[in-house]
Every structure is written in C-alpha cells, then in structure tokens.
C-alpha cells in the first residue's frame, strides 16, 4: 500500500487550458516577431549570466540579444553591487567590451578611449578640452535593470520592471533560490548552435513528454518512457508557465549497454542510466523530489526562453535567443557540484555528456522542418494534447503578454 503511493507517478497532464488547435503564425510572422521584440524581450526578465562569473569587483560578462541588436555588460562594482549597462559608449556608440567575460578595473572604449568606472560613470575622456559644452556627469553608461536568483543573473530592458524577479519566478520559491544558488555549482560544459527555426520551437521541444517514445526511439526511449513524463501548469505564475517531470520506469527498458553500466559505477552524470552512486546535493529540500524513488528531474519553463532542468547534482539550462522569426541561437549549459578527480568520474562524465548530446540532436532534429512548413503556410495550426499542456500554457502566456502590450499581470 505504502509502496504503491510512493511509486505513483503524477497524471500526464490535463485539458484545463482547452483543447482547441493553436494557430501557428506566431512562429513565422514578422509582424508577431516585432511584437515579441517590443513586448517580451524588452519587458521580461531574461537570464543573462551566472553570478559566480562576476564574483569579484571588475569581473564582467556580456550578454547579447540578437533580435534587438542589443549587447549588455554585467559587472560587479567596488561596492560589490552587480550592475548591468547597455554595451554602448556614450561618445559615438561603439561596443565597449567585446569579450564574453573578463576582468576590467575600468571599462575603456576601444574606439577613442573613453573610460567608464564600474558604476558606469564616465571617468575620463582623452582630449576632453577638444569638446565644447560638456557635462561628464550626464554621459555615464545607460543602466539596465538587473537582479539575481538561484545564482543566475537576470536583466530586464524595462527601466521599471512591472514585477520584480522574485515575484516573476513564483512559484519557484526561496528553496530554489538557495539550492540553485549554492556556491558549489560550477559550469561544466555546454554547446551552442544556430538554427533556422523560431526560438520558441526549441523551447517547445523540451517541455512535453509526449515526444519521448518516438523522437528518442534510437536513444533513450525505455529509460524515460513518455508515460513517465507528466506535465503541470502554473496558471497563476507570471514567469513560470509550466513544468514537466521525468521518472524512470520501475524496470528499465531498452538497451542498458555495458559502457553505460560501467559508467554508472562511478557517478550519476547520465540521466538515462540508474547510477550506483547518487550525487550528493546540498539544500535540496523543497526542490528535489527525493521521496520518489523513480524521480529523475523537473524541467521548468522560465518565460520567455529558458528551460531549467533541476535534478540531484546537476542543473541543465537551455536558452534560445531569437535572431529573426525563423532563426535563433540555441545553447545548453550544464552545472555540477564537485570536480572530476579520478578516471572513473571522467569516464562517467564523458559517457553522460555524450548520451545527452546525442539525445539533444534528436530534440533539435524536428525544428527546422516544422519551421519550413509554417513558413510555407502548409500548416496553419497545431494540435496539443493534455500531456503537451506546457505548450498551451506557453502559448497562452505569450499571447497574453502580446495582447497586453507587455503587461505581465
């Protein structure tokens, strides 16, 4: 009896948001894309960096929103405060910092040498006497809203965000903030690619479990059956429309190879093989579903462009950045606790990394074909079942923000 309730897997999803077909033009229309730029990417909180990458005063990272042709500098000041600025010299608009990350006591424009301090103030102008009327105090870098949650830095191009980051990310509460923000998490590896597909299609690919049995028939179907990937929506949330979860089957199906089983002796990097050694995870109360013996991960959709996978000992972040209606950058990043110290751990890390890489190639495989069919007008609407309800929740959130002209509530 007790065992039955412990092993029960949540229902696959629901029809609570309706059953009607969803139009597809928001994936292909330039007009809709222009609205997304204005009302979503200029109004919502966007994950832009990791706090650990700006741990000391002068550390900086840059973040680029291609569709907006906007580059942002995030740096930590001498006062320990994290600030974000448009990467735009107030002299003649050159990008000031061009590296993805680095350290600079001052931010010096490479064009003519204007110097800005870490608080964004214009500190020095070579040949200042060459200018006429001039008030340096008015020519600091243009500041951008910034906040930190779970160790991730978010920026918001709205100078006065309608909601703060904490409210935006509810129901992900302080437990998540603490767990994800733990100092032991370090970036391990990641990949980046450009796709001829709308930025939302690559989000869609990660937020429903209905695809697993077919899309992953040559890799992991059996290790995470579609029937073990339930969905949940957060109707009241502003920035977290939905999540999906993954549970192992009681008996692993599919091929558990000799290599995978050897790997499993030395770590838990692979999502798809039950490890003999579990990761240790600190501060996971209220975040990890550790009471369920089959639970693997929860994946949260952070509106508009993030899928955040949370599991014991591993964080996986997928981001998409729009370029045009039919083009985007896709990237995925992994965070782990602890260093790889011996060959067994290295073997486990390599095996897990390759397995997820190959699975991701399958997830990414369909997007460009779908985009072609939308662009060509062959398919004008899509059908969403109850297990795919995160897609519907995502669409509703998108359209509600667009129709509300950027209003989030």
């Amino acid at each position: 009896m007790g065992n039955v309730s412990v092993m029960a897997i949540p229902p696959l999803g629901s029809h609570e948001m309706g059953t009607e077909a969803i139009p597809s033009d928001h994936y292909s229309s330039q007009e809709h894309f222009d609205l997304e730029k204005e009302y979503i990417f200029k109004k919502t909180w966007l994950m832009a960096g990791r706090e650990a990458d700006v741990s000391k005063p002068g550390d900086y990272v840059t973040f680029f929103i291609d569709a907006l042709e906007t580059s942002i500098i995030i740096t930590r000041g001498q006062d320990q405060k994290i600030r974000a600025f448009y990467n735009a010299c107030t002299h003649r608009a050159a990008h000031i910092l061009n590296e993805p990350c680095g350290h600079a006591k001052f931010m010096t424009c490479g064009f003519h040498g204007w110097v800005f301090d870490l608080e964004g103030k214009l500190a020095d102008v070579p040949g200042e006497e060459l200018f006429g009327e001039f008030d340096k105090s008015q020519l600091g870098l243009k500041e951008v809203s910034v906040d930190v949650w779970g160790g991730f830095i978010f920026i918001n191009l709205d100078p006065n965000p309608e909601v703060d980051l904490k409210e935006y990310l509810a129901p992900l509460n302080e437990s998540f903030d603490k767990y994800l923000g733990h100092k032991d998490w370090t970036w391990s590896y990641g990949w980046r690619a450009k796709f001829n597909a709308n930025w939302k299609l690559l989000v869609d690919a990660q937020i429903e479990g209905y695809h697993v049995d077919q899309t992953h028939r040559n890799t992991i179907a059996g290790a995470i059956p579609g029937a073990n990937a339930p969905a949940e929506v957060y109707s009241d949330s502003i920035g977290v429309p939905a999540k999906i979860s993954a549970y192992r089957p009681e008996k692993m199906l599919g091929v558990q190879t000799d290599v995978a089983l050897l790997s499993a002796k030395h770590g838990a990097t692979s999502l798809y093989t039950k490890s003999e050694n579990e990761f240790t995870a600190k501060d996971g109360d209220g975040v990890l579903n550790e009471d369920h013996p089959l639970w693997i991960f929860d994946a949260y959709l952070l509106f508009p462009n993030i899928v955040l996978f949370v599991q014991k000992g591993q964080i996986l972040v997928q981001r998409t950045i729009p370029v045009s209606p039919g083009e985007c950058f896709w990237e995925v990043d992994f965070f782990h606790t602890g260093e790889v110290e011996d060959f067994g751990q290295l073997f486990n890390s390599e095996q897990g990394r390759i397995q997820i890489r190959d699975v991701l190639t399958e997830d990414l495989y369909t997007a460009e074909g779908i985009q072609m069919n939308f662009n060509a007008g062959v398919i004008k609407e899509v059908y969403i079942n109850k297990q795919e309800i995160p897609i519907r929740a995502y669409y509703h959130r998108l359209m509600s923000v667009i129709k509300g002209k950027g209003a989030l509530k």
Binding site: R50, V61, T219, V255, D342, F343, R353, R357
Partner: protein, 116 residues
C-alpha cells in the same frame, strides 16, 4: 606511480587503441563519424573485454599524472563512450534521426557566444 591494480594486458590491441586514442571528445566524435561500422565494431570488440579492468587500473592514479601509454589507454577507453550508441543502438556510425552533431559547437563558458 605505485600501481596496486595491475595494468590490463593490451598486447595485440595496440593498433586499435592507437587509432582511437584521440585527445578530445570532438576528435573522437569526428573519428566515429568518419569510420565505417566495421572499423567501429572492431575497436569496440577489441576494447570491451579490457574496459572494466582498464577503468579500475586508471582510476587509481591522479588524472593529472596520466601520461604516455596510460594517457593513450585512457583516451581509448573514453572513445568507447563515443562508439557505444553506434554499436548497441543505431547499428551504424551516425544517428540518422538527429541533427549533425558537429553543428553543436562546444562552449567555453556560460556566456560564450562563439560566432557561428
């Protein structure tokens, strides 16, 4: 190095080990993609019997101390992770239901924005 666990006997396997003991994951990926299924299977069949002992043997050293033949052996062992799916799941060198893996550019950090 004091090796309490003995080094597995790789006599007769040197050619396979040398062919696949490439330095990086990306090198080994390209090797797999450019190999025939017969070549992949031959390497897999040669390496699998000694793989458990190889991991145990290499596991007793600090990673940074691996050098020479042991470093070569470690890379060949890691190549088994690369060919595993080809041999056991796809039965061919390249997954036909995924994008070209080489499109996924390796990042160097969270904010890396390699120009693609």
């Amino acid at each position: 190095m004091s090796d309490l666990i003995p080094r597995p006997d790789v006599s007769g396997l040197e050619a396979e080990i040398d062919a696949w003991a490439l330095a990086t994951t990306e090198d080994r990926l390209v090797k797999r993609m450019n190999s025939s299924m017969q070549e992949i299977q031959r390497f897999y069949d040669a390496m699998l019997p000694i793989l458990p002992a190889t991991i145990e043997y290499l596991n007793q050293f600090n990673l940074s101390e691996l050098a020479g033949d042991d470093l070569t052996l470690s890379r060949a062992a890691l190549a088994m992770c690369e060919v595993d799916n080809s041999v056991n799941k796809w039965k061919k060198p390249i997954l036909s239901t995924g994008i070209d893996t080489l499109r996924m550019t390796k990042k160097t950090g969270f904010n890396d924005r390699t120009i693609l």
